[in-house]
Structure formats: structure tokens, C-alpha cells
Symmetry: C2
Subunit: 510 residues, 2 copies
């Protein structure tokens, strides 16, 4: 069982890709989405928090990386942190594999602690374990400190996906040489944005990695590849399936919030209704808090109790809806909503009052990435979504990015650089050894690869799965399908390594 501290941390790590139309970037007048905030993907707890990670042993090391792999500007190198464990590694002579987790947008120790799967299978494979940190996160700060790295658009300009992949490529190449392990196969792992990195790395650097397990990796959530309504529709459907009146109450609540907020002492009244620690400054802050809860609930709507993001009961959406629907007769819409989201934010009942956001204006790496390359269009359909209706508005989004970061997004760049359109044709005869694992409850699954593309680029789709749970440590409570899913993943990885070592042996005996 993870400790409460760890459980809390999971929020940070796994909320990695939460979109926020409520913090959307429209500059048009709108009842629901005033343009007063940058997009938030990491949520409010995106600050490094020390944690108890004694369960996995690793050494912390540092590697000096060029800040810019793709130009020869005279920029200072930066210190990339990586975690390494060689306890189980059988070494170069036996072609001991190297398991590399593609660090994503956060402190790498968070990911290491919460990616038990990699640690658990390392001994079975005789593998080295590596967790390199993503540049501009955790301790891996260009220009010596977070403050300097996040100073302005110029210092942030090298926070890009391609640079991060090149960091991994350069690091692993150097490490392999130092270990005389050039012949050892590398297997990539990653969840969420990290899963995207793993898949893209296998595609772009096949000479460096023999395969990738890309868990909950929405590599198709760009441009027009999937409908922009996908994410919110999946969440909304999860609520509707439980109870259409619950769905309706939530759908009506946004207008109720606005009306209430506009009334005399409205913000004070709302702060009271929602038991906030500090008085609300705008209705927007509250809608952010609410729609985050629904989206996170969509991601962790497991049929059993969990503390993946928060300590939650099994079927948490069902429980939320029970509270909403089952509030005492005469309860207002907002009372019902409060009772519902208390399941998410206060299942343990320990919370006296709620903090909405402790640093709404802090610069945040993912916000920068969302305003540059990682432009994921998100809409909320006025009929099918329970969220406030919202049409993706790129020009307003760009305007907001220019205002917040003095940067203009490149919304077509990711599909130009990594593809995505027509992926089943493009990769049918190109590439190999990628597992796209997804749980259909996860709203991110809508932007992921859900069908086998070829014999070796496969989709593992779990009906009751949610956001990259397969990467987490096994527990005694794991349902059968999860146990089987992990067994399948192990078998596929064994297959890659087997093929690889046969090829190598054939070379040696030639």
C-alpha cells in the first residue's frame, strides 16, 4: 500500500495531461471560460515535494547535456539528472537489457516511485533500470536554476519534445559506451506524455531502442486527427452511464454558478457553499476546481477502491453521482455539486476547508509546452458534454500564448515532426515493437492508438482500465485483467529481446 504522502503525490504525477477548457485561452467574452488563465495540465500541485521513495533503490547521477542538440549555438550545457540501478543487470556479456523510462513533465523521482512495474520486472529480465529526467523539470534545469530556466521565452525556448528525446539518445549512447554495453538492448517505458515520448523515441531512434511500452499515450490528440470533443465526451459519458440526472445536474450547475457569482456577495456565498479556505476571487477559479475533479474522476474511474490520484472508493463516479442525486430534497444544485465533488476531494473526510489553487500565476513547464508544440485542441460539445459548451478556438489560444509567454504556438508541428494522421497506414509497413496500452475509462484513450497497426505495433485495450495503471506497482487488489495485461506486456517485451539476442548471436557465430 502506498503511504498517504505517496497517494497525494500521485495526483501530481498522474494529472500530467489534464486539459482545462475551464482555463481555456479564449479571449472572446464567454460566460464560462474567461481568458484569465494559462492552460493548466499539471494541476496545482506541480511543485517538487520530497517523498519517501525507499521502496526502490537507485543512485542519482548527473550528465551534462547540450542545451540545443539541433544547432551549434554557444549555449551553456545543463545538468540532466538520472536515476540508475544496476543491481539486477546481468551486464554486457549476457546482453543485459536496459530499461529506460522516458521522464516526463515532473520530478523524475515522482515517476520512479510511481512506476513500480519497471522496477518489479527488472530482476526477471536481468535489466538495468534508468530514469532520466525531462529537461526543465525537477533538478534538470538549464541555466543552473528553475528561476533562471523559467525566466522568459528565450530561456524556455529549448523546452521541447525533440530536445528531450535527443537528451535521452545522447545519455543512453554515452552510458552504453561507458559500460561497454553497446550491444545491450534498450527498452523504453513511459506513461501519459512519457508514453508519447516512448513511442516517438522508438520511431525516431530505432537504432537506440528495440521497443517501447507506451501507456496512455494520446499521440493522436493533435490537430484534427481525433475530434476535439473526444476527451470531454468520454468523461461525460462515464457520468451519464451512472445517472442521467447526475449528468444533467452537473450540466446545469455552470449557469447556477455564474448566476450565484454575479449576485450580491455572490463570491462570498459561493466560498461558503464550497467550504473554501479563502474567499473566491472569481467564479472561474471554482469552475476550474470542479471540472478538474470530473476529469480526474474520469481518469481513475476504477471498479475497485484505489488511491491512484486520491483515496477513492470503487466506481468513484457512481459514488459522486449518488451524492449528487441523493442529496436531501430541496438541496440546491450547488449543494448537490458540493456533496458530489467532496467524494473526490475529501473522501477521507479529513479536509476542513478547500484550497483551490496556491499558485495560479506561476510559470509552469507544461503550460509552456502546451503553448508551443503540444497544442491539443479540446472542445466541449453543447449536447454530448456535461461541461460548459466550448468550441476550440485556435486564434484565441494563440493570442493567449503570446500574451502569457510571448510565444506563438506551432499547432501543426507535432504532426509534421511525428506524424499521426493515417497512422495505421503509415506504420503498417514501417516500424515495429511498440505497445500502446490504454484503458477505455481514461478520457485520454480517445486520442490514443486503440487498434493493432501491425504484428509488432499493437494495442492493448482494457475496458475497465484508466490512466496508465499498468505501469504502477502490482498490489494484491489488482483485478485479473490488470494482472493479465501486465503478463502480456512482459511476454511482448520478452519477444523483442529474444529476437534481438538471436540476431546478435547470429552475428557472433557468422
Amino acid at each position: 500500500m502506498a503511504s498517504p504522502t505517496v497517494s497525494f503525490l500521485l495526483i501530481i504525477i498522474t494529472t500530467v495531461l489534464l486539459p482545462s477548457p475551464s482555463s481555456s485561452l479564449t479571449s472572446q467574452p464567454s460566460n464560462f471560460f474567461p481568458s484569465n488563465k494559462p492552460p493548466r495540465f499539471l494541476g496545482k500541485h506541480s511543485h517538487p515535494i520530497k517523498t519517501n521513495h525507499q521502496q526502490y533503490r537507485y543512485e542519482t547521477r548527473y550528465f551534462f547535456q547540450p542545451l540545443d542538440h539541433f544547432s551549434f549555438s554557444d549555449l551553456p550545457r545543463f545538468r540532466q539528472r538520472y536515476l540508475i540501478n544496476t543491481d539486477h543487470w546481468v551486464g554486457p556479456s549476457r546482453l543485459g537489457p536496459i530499461f529506460l523510462y522516458c521522464g516526463n513533465e515532473g520530478d523524475i523521482e515522482w515517476f520512479a516511485v510511481n512506476t513500480g512495474f519497471v522496477w518489479e520486472i527488472a530482476s526477471r529480465f536481468g535489466a538495468m533500470v534508468l530514469f532520466p529526467e525531462h529537461r526543465y523539470y525537477g533538478e534538470s534545469m538549464p541555466y543552473g536554476s528553475r528561476e533562471e530556466a523559467y525566466k522568459n521565452a528565450t530561456t524556455l525556448s529549448h523546452l521541447t519534445t525533440e530536445q528531450a528525446l535527443a537528451d535521452f539518445a545522447v545519455l543512453i549512447t554515452d552510458l552504453k559506451r561507458n559500460f561497454s554495453a553497446e550491444g545491450c538492448p534498450v527498452v523504453l517505458f513511459g506513461g501519459s506524455y512519457g508514453g508519447m515520448l516512448a513511442a516517438w523515441m522508438r520511431l525516431k531512434y530505432p537504432h537506440i531502442a528495440v521497443g517501447a511500452l507506451a501507456s496512455s499515450a494520446p499521440i493522436l490528440q493533435f490537430e484534427d486527427i481525433v475530434p476535439p470533443e473526444t476527451f470531454y465526451n468520454i468523461v461525460s459519458n462515464s457520468f451519464k452511464r451512472e445517472s442521467s440526472s447526475c449528468f444533467d445536474t452537473i450540466k446545469q450547475s455552470w449557469n447556477a454558478l455564474t448566476s450565484e457569482g454575479q449576485g450580491k456577495d455572490g463570491l462570498q456565498q459561493l466560498s461558503k457553499t464550497f467550504r473554501l479556505c479563502r474567499e473566491l476571487k472569481s467564479v472561474q477559479d471554482l469552475t476550474n476546481w470542479l471540472d478538474s475533479a470530473y476529469s480526474y474522476l474520469g481518469m481513475v474511474n476504477y471498479p475497485y477502491s484505489s488511491n491512484f490520484l486520491m483515496p477513492l472508493p470503487g466506481h468513484p463516479i457512481r459514488e459522486v453521482c449518488r451524492k449528487i442525486d441523493g442529496s436531501p430534497d430541496g438541496s440546491s444544485i450547488l449543494d448537490r455539486i458540493f456533496n458530489g465533488v467532496s467524494i473526490y476531494y475529501n473522501y477521507t473526510g479529513d479536509v476542513d476547508c478547500f484550497q483551490l489553487d496556491d499558485d495560479p500565476h506561476g510559470m509552469n513547464g507544461w503550460n509552456w509546452q502546451a503553448c508551443t508544440e503540444m497544442v491539443m485542441p479540446m472542445s466541449s460539445d453543447r449536447n454530448t458534454s456535461m461541461y460548459p459548451a466550448y468550441d476550440w478556438d485556435y486564434s484565441a489560444f494563440g493570442e493567449k500564448c503570446r500574451r502569457d509567454f510571448q510565444v506563438t504556438p506551432r499547432p501543426r508541428w507535432i504532426t509534421t515532426e511525428f506524424g499521426g494522421h493515417d497512422i495505421e497506414h503509415v506504420l503498417k509497413f514501417f516500424g515495429s515493437n511498440i505497445i500502446f496500452s490504454n484503458g477505455l475509462l481514461d478520457p485520454w484513450s480517445g486520442g490514443s492508438v486503440l487498434k493493432n497497426i501491425s504484428e509488432t505495433i499493437v494495442a492493448l485495450v482494457m475496458e475497465e482500465g484508466a490512466h496508465h495503471i499498468d505501469l504502477r506497482a502490482s498490489t494484491t487488489e489488482d483485478p485479473d485483467w490488470l494482472v493479465e495485461q501486465r503478463a502480456t506486456e512482459i511476454k511482448l517485451i520478452e519477444g523483442w529481446l529474444d529476437t534481438y539476442s538471436k540476431k546478435m548471436q547470429a552475428t557472433f557465430t557468422m
Copy 2:
């Protein structure tokens, strides 16, 4: 027949990849390779020269590219030139293919004029023809002018292979959208460095191009993948095969040159012997001129008369050796050498005196690339090579680059980014649709892919072929093997397009 002007231009275009150990970067004292010059790959005629290209019709257009695709620095966009012809294109409704030549290190008009193969087959395929220019060459200058672009290491810093590939990717994606041609397949072509670009582009951007014809593309001429002696051994063997005394004479000539040069009035005497227009400033300038001739001869040692680089007889090395061996009794070594290289530099007999190098100190794009990413180790073996012995010395090379360009090379970067080691295993089950075409006479063939890797990544190896002759326009003098080679290439490309259109039809009828 190409006009004399065009023939002259061919020197420029096809000498693209000539290595120069004679202009090597060692800082150690050496009889033969004093470190007074940066490496020269383009040769002396690397300036834009206007030419008669009326044989192929195209429109010249421009596209604004980000200077840095992989960061969000606030750098000015630059105007990339591209040539386009849609005369034969059957358009999007019939999935008309797009033939894209990957512009390499020179004026794109040179390459367009000298890549007749692409023009000739376009009508047969109903294809659009595109020749985008490589950044920092021709008219495609960042910062508005060549002078500004080549000002210093900072302005040059974005002259890299990855940026050039991204330019192609962004351009073609934009063009396809403008033509509503998203479904039209792109086929890549390229020779020499352009061939490397074509192969790498197919590997890195499979979603953008369905296949690549990479002619004379030495993608393995990096790090320790092939022995550094390969290039000069191939040239030397071509001479030795013709005549061992010829080989010996050349091998002895370097000492003779040095002795003569060191004598009283030695440089004056050498200038006379070699009929130079201006008096020699150093022996080095002369050795550069001589070893360039041998290396170029290696590249164009066709069994029939040609004017690929220069107007030359068939078996030009045989002719050179005839002159060297058959000089009148009592001829000095240097007289023999002069008689020999006159075949190369003055086969028509029109030259009164020889210009060695009109701009030895000019900054040159390829020199920058060689000093940053494109570090191709070259040695000359003291036994098997007829060139002066030289051991590749990376640290001296790096020193020289820092001195000349204030830049430190990254000698391992190309193999990290694009691979190369163990390529037959890496690509056996990864990637598809690449033709590596090579002629074994071409010294660059030693660093190229000469064996089939898979069913669809194939090597076309022509025993009597030389530097990317398959890309040139057909002539009535083409030998049978060349006609057959081109027919095979056409058939393979037809296969790629056929598979592609079947996949697309299957989608439409689904």
C-alpha cells in the same frame, strides 16, 4: 549533350563530398598535411554560377521557414527557395505523386539541372517535381544575405542536417495542404549528401514520404562504422589496378614535391613545372590540387567517355596512368605527375595555365557542416594508399574547427541521431522503401549501404558505376547496366506507389 558551361558546373555539384586529407586539420607537424586550411568538400568552384537550365521548366517560389524548428527562440524566419513543376502532375484526385529532391550543399538550380532522372520520369508517373533548396546555400539564406548568414558561429549555428530535413517536412506539409494533396505520396530523391538526406528523411519522416532513392549516400562514413582508410584505399586501388608503377610514382611524388618545394626557388620551380597561373604560396596548395584530381578521378572512373565532372576519356584513370608511366625516359617524377593530372584538368587541351584555388579562405557551408555534425574520419594507410600517410586525428581536427569557426564538433552526434552502427540489424525489421544505389568505382561507396537490408530496403550495386550517375539525365551513350539500373529504380518506385494507392483505395472503399 551538356554544354561546356554545364559540364563545368558538374564539378561543383558532384564534388560535394570530396574529402581532403591534404587540407586536413592536424595541428601536429607533418610533411604533408600542415593544418593551414579547413576541410574542403565543395572544392574551389562553390560559388553560385548562372547557368543555362532551359532544358527543364520550373517555377521558382519561396517559403518562409522557422530558422529553428526545435526550439522556440525568437529568431527571424528565412526565405527558402524551391523549384516546382506541376506540368505532368495528375493531381490529388488521382493521387498524383510528388517527387522531392532533397537539396544538398549548393545552389538548388545546379542540382535541378543535373538530376535529369527525376525530370525524365515525372511524366511517366504523373508526378509533381519539387527541388527545395538546403538552408544556407544558394538563395536560401537566413538573416537576409549570405554575408549575414555566414558572419560567425552564431549566425551559422542553425546550418544542420536535422533543421534541413525539418525544412523539407514543413514545406511539403504546407504545399500538400495548399494543393489539397494530403493524400498524395511523396517520393524522395537525393545524391551524395542529398542521398543521405533522402535516406534519413524516409527513416525520420515515414509519415511524409513513402520511399527514398538515396544515390551514393555514404551514411556509414561516420565514427568507426567503416575503416577511415576506406575512401583513399578505393581510389588507390583503382590506380593500382591500372598500373602498379603508376601507383608507385604517385606515392613517391609527395616526397618529391616537398623536397622540391624546400629547395632554393622551389615554389617558383614547382609553379613552372605545373604551369600555374600564379606563383605557388605553399606546397600544400599544390598537393590539394593533385589529390583532389585523384579523388575526383576515382569518382568518375567510368568505362566510357563522360563529362560528369570534367570532359574525360573512358577509363580516365587508365589514361592518367598511361601518361604517368609513358612519359619520355628521363622524365622526373613531377613531370610525370603533371602529364598525368593534365588528363583530368586539361583533357580538351584548352587550358593555358592552372588556377589552383581562387578563394582558399572563404567561409563555406560544407566546411561548417564538416566541423560540426558531418565529421567523417578519413585516414590514408601508409601501405595501401597512394596518398601521403595520414592517421585520422580527432583532437587536432577539433582544435582546427575551434580555431576556424569557434565551434566544437560533435563527432558522435550523427550516429546518435541517425544510427549507422549495425544498420543491417536495426533496419531489418524497421523501416521500408529505401534504395541505396552505388557504383563500386566511387570511393564514397565504401561508406554506403551495399547489401540488401530487407525486402524493401535494398542496395543496387553497380560494379562500373561511379558517383550518383543514375540520377543524371539519360544519354545515348549510357551503358546497358546504367539503363537497367534506372529501370530497376523505376520499377521499385512503381511498387511503392502501387502499394500506397492500394492501401488508400482500400480505405476509400471500406
